[in-house]
Amino acid sequence: MSYSPIITRLLAKAQRTDLPTFAVGDTIKVHVKIKEGDKERVQIFEGIVIKKREGAQPSFTVRKMSFGQGVERIFPQASRIVEKIEIVRSAKVRRAKLYYLRALRGKAARLKEVDRVK
């Protein structure tokens, strides 16, 4: 859906600027705030970024293998539940969306690591 320029500007203001820039294929640790009753704690979701959605309301999808089961989580970039993001390693990828990883398991699901200039 296309937004009016006014809403695009408003959403741009609502975006977070404190998160680091990362690319598709990077392995990242997302520190997620979790509320239990009135207590708040931080849980780390570590996995490969398989998709980044750009535009007025950007988001990114992180995939990890959890006890042999693939788990994907979509994080809106403007959301405040993400406390911080750590980049663990970067990989060389030739696709914008790494959906092919869903069909792969174990050694086949590895990506070729590269040193990206920070």
């Binding site: 937004y3 009016s4 006014i6 809403i7 500007r9 408003l10 959403l11 609502a14 705030k33 509320k35 007025a56 309301q57 809106p76 403007a78 959301s79 405040r80 539940i81």
Partner: protein, 241 residues
């Protein structure tokens, strides 16, 4: 400034995240800029009000001579739309409103709830299922499914009672949505962000005013204009709580 509301335009809807990380459906409104075009007074008109106009580009040929004279009287810019709003009288009896005053979105600073009126989307000639939420009939096995069925009895009363809900024109009427929560005010771009939907299509004109009946105070919640019930307060005091 103490006018109770202003005129604006619906920009559209989107989603915003609050501090808890929860997503809120919001409507973005272009609120103003407006100008006070005339003051109605108790002496000359029988009531106190301010006529407020929405400042927007208007083609000169679209204005009548009467309108031009109305604006020229007080050196006002031509306005697209005008509406009367109540004036809030301050404690010292003054209103602080005069003709030519700007009415901007900062009017809603500190306001928690607003009422918004707009013209709802026109649905044309709509059937009973869409217009009155009739259940309709079964969808298969040779049935008619968007019809209403019987509209009354037979030889008595031999007529259809007034008020029988039938198909007809739907929408394109003035609708007011009360108590929309204000989530943000952008003074640079004259924007007002409210939670929830607002009547009408995008770019439709809306009347935004401070909530007439904001929600009553509940546990852990304090709405604006919440009055303490003196009767209950005195009973509570008598109980010694």
């Amino acid at each position: 400034m103490s006018v109770s509301g202003l005129l604006g335009k619906k920009v559209g809807m989107t989603q915003l995240y609050d501090s808890k990380g929860e997503v809120r459906p919001v409507t973005v409104l272009q609120a103003g800029p407006c100008v006070v075009t005339q003051l109605k007074s108790l002496l000359s008109d029988g009531y106190d009000a301010a006529q407020v106009g929405l400042v927007e580009f208007v083609k000169d040929s679209r204005l009548t001579k009467a309108m031009k004279g109305h604006f020229a009287k007080n050196n006002l810019p031509p306005v697209k739309l005008m509406k009367e709003f109540a004036i809030e009288v301050e404690d010292d009896g003054s209103t602080g409103v005069k003709v030519g005053d700007k009415v901007l979105v900062d009017l809603f600073d500190g306001t928690k709830f607003v009422d918004i009126s707009g013209t709802s989307k026109g649905r044309g000639f709509a059937g009973v299922v869409k217009r009155h939420k009739f259940a309709g009939g079964p969808a298969a096995h040779g049935h008619m499914f968007q019809v209403q069925g019987s509209i009354g009895a037979s030889s008595f009363p031999s007529r259809v009672f007034p008020g029988q809900r039938m198909s007809g024109h739907m929408g394109d009427v003035t609708v007011t949505t009360r108590n929309l929560r204000v989530l943000g005010v952008d003074k640079d771009e004259n924007l007002l962000v409210v939670e929830g939907a607002v009547p009408g299509h995008r770019n439709g004109y809306v009347v935004i005013s401070k909530a007439k009946k904001p929600p009553r105070e509940r546990r852990g919640f304090s709405g604006e204009g919440t009055a303490v019930n003196p009767l209950k307060a005195s009973k509570r005091a008598a109980k010694g709580k």
